[in-house]
C-alpha cells in the first residue's frame, strides 16, 4: 500500500516538474511550484517526517508561493521563449545526474536499520530524550535543545536575509532611466549619469 502511494506521488511530482519546464506562463509556474511543495509534503508523511511535512506545506507551498506571486505582480506575467539550444543544458544535467547516481551506488539501502546514519547519535537521542527533555516529540527536543545552536544560526540567517530584502526593495531609489532623463537636461551631466549607473551595478 505504501509503495503504491509512493509511486503515485512520485509520478505526480515528475509530471509537475516537467510541466514547470514546458510552460511559458509565469503564473502557472508559480502555482505548479506550490503543487510540487505540497506533493513533497505528502511524500514526507509517508517517510515518517511529519514535522518536515507540515513545515514544507506551510513554508514551501504557502509563504514561498505568496512571495513569488508578489514578485510577479511587480515584474512580468509570462516568460519569453528561450532562443538558445537546450542541448548544452541537457548534457550538463545528464552528466551531473549520472555522477549523482554513481554516488548513490555505495549508499545503504532504503530503510536499512543498520545504516551508518542510524547507529551513532540518533539512537542516543531517542534513548535519552524522554529522561533528559521529557517532550513527546523527539524532533522538537533535538531542535530546541540538543541542537539549539543550529536553530540560533538559522535565526541569524533569516535575520540577515530579512535585512537584505528590506535594504534592496524599500525606500526611494533613483532608477537608471530617471538618472538619464535628468542628465539630458544639462548636456554636461552625461558622464555623471553613466558614472552613477556603473556604481549601482
Amino acid at each position: 500500500m505504501n509503495t503504491l502511494i509512493d509511486i503515485v506521488v512520485f509520478t505526480m511530482l515528475v509530471t509537475t516538474a516537467l510541466a514547470v519546464v514546458r510552460t511559458h506562463s509565469l503564473f502557472a509556474t508559480v502555482m505548479l511550484s506550490g503543487v510540487f511543495s505540497l506533493l513533497s509534503a505528502l511524500l514526507f508523511v509517508t517517510l515518517d517526517a511529519v514535522d518536515v511535512a507540515f513545515t514544507e506545506a506551510a513554508v514551501g507551498a504557502g509563504i514561498s508561493t505568496v512571495l513569488m506571486l508578489g514578485t510577479l505582480a511587480l515584474t512580468a506575467r509570462s516568460e519569453k521563449p528561450s532562443s538558445h539550444s537546450p542541448l548544452i543544458p541537457l548534457l550538463v544535467v545528464l552528466v551531473t545526474g549520472a555522477v549523482l547516481v554513481y554516488g548513490t551506488l555505495d549508499m545503504p539501502a532504503f530503510g536499512d536499520a543498520l545504516a551508518p546514519a542510524m547507529t551513532h547519535v540518533a539512537p542516543d537521542y531517542i534513548a535519552r530524550s524522554p529522561a533528559e527533555i521529557d517532550v513527546p516529540n523527539i524532533v522538537t527536543a533535538i531542535l530546541a535543545s540538543y541542537r539549539g545552536f543550529d536553530t540560533l544560526g538559522e535565526t541569524a540567517v533569516v535575520f540577515t536575509a530579512g535585512m537584505s530584502v528590506l535594504l534592496l526593495i524599500s525606500g526611494r531609489r533613483i532608477t537608471r532611466a530617471e538618472a538619464e532623463k535628468g542628465a539630458t537636461g544639462n548636456a554636461k551631466g552625461t558622464d555623471d549619469a553613466i558614472g552613477d549607473g556603473s556604481d549601482e551595478t
Partner: protein, 141 residues
C-alpha cells in the same frame, strides 16, 4: 544488479531525476523568476533525498505517546535528518525571498527579467561608455 539492490536504491535515483529537472530549469531557462522556481525544486528534491536516508523499515514517526509510557519494542525513524531539514527549509525560504528581492530590483533597473535582454543592455551600456571615454581622449582610443 539484483532486485533487492534495485528496490533499496531506486528512491535515490528518482530523487536525482527530480533534482536534475530543477537544475535543468535553472540552467536552460532565461527568466529569473523561473530560475528561482527551478532552484526551489532542486532544493525540495535534496530534502526528500535526505529524509529518505533517515527512514527505517517498520519504523514510525519519532513522537512518543503523550503519557510518555514508551514501548521498548517500537522502532522510531531517525529524527536527526528531520531536524536538519526543518532548519534547511526555513533557510531556503529566506534565500528565496532574497533572490526574489534581487529580481524585483533588477526589473526596476533594467525593465526586464529575461537574462539575454539584461546582457544586451549591459553590452550597450559598456559600448556607450567606451565611446564616451574614446571621445574624451580625442577619438584615438
Amino acid at each position: 544488479m539484483d532486485w533487492s539492490f534495485f528496490v533499496g536504491h531506486v528512491n535515490y535515483w528518482l530523487f536525482v531525476v527530480l533534482m536534475m529537472t530543477g537544475l535543468y530549469v535553472v540552467v536552460a531557462k532565461g527568466n529569473l523568476v523561473k530560475k528561482i522556481v527551478g532552484l526551489n525544486m532542486f532544493q525540495t528534491a535534496v530534502f526528500m533525498l535526505y529524509i529518505s536516508m533517515g527512514k527505517v523499515h517498520g519504523g514510525t514517526a519519532p513522537i512518543f505517546p503523550t503519557d510518555m509510557k514508551i514501548d521498548p519494542a517500537t522502532v522510531y525513524t531517525n529524527p536527526l535528518p528531520h531536524v536538519l531539514i526543518l532548519t534547511a527549509i526555513v533557510v531556503g525560504i529566506a534565500t528565496t525571498a532574497l533572490g526574489l528581492a534581487l529580481v524585483v530590483r533588477i526589473r526596476e533597473e533594467y525593465g526586464t527579467i529575461e537574462e539575454d535582454e539584461i546582457l544586451e543592455i549591459e553590452q550597450d551600456m559598456a559600448s556607450e561608455e567606451n565611446r564616451i571615454h574614446g571621445q574624451a581622449m580625442g577619438g584615438r582610443a
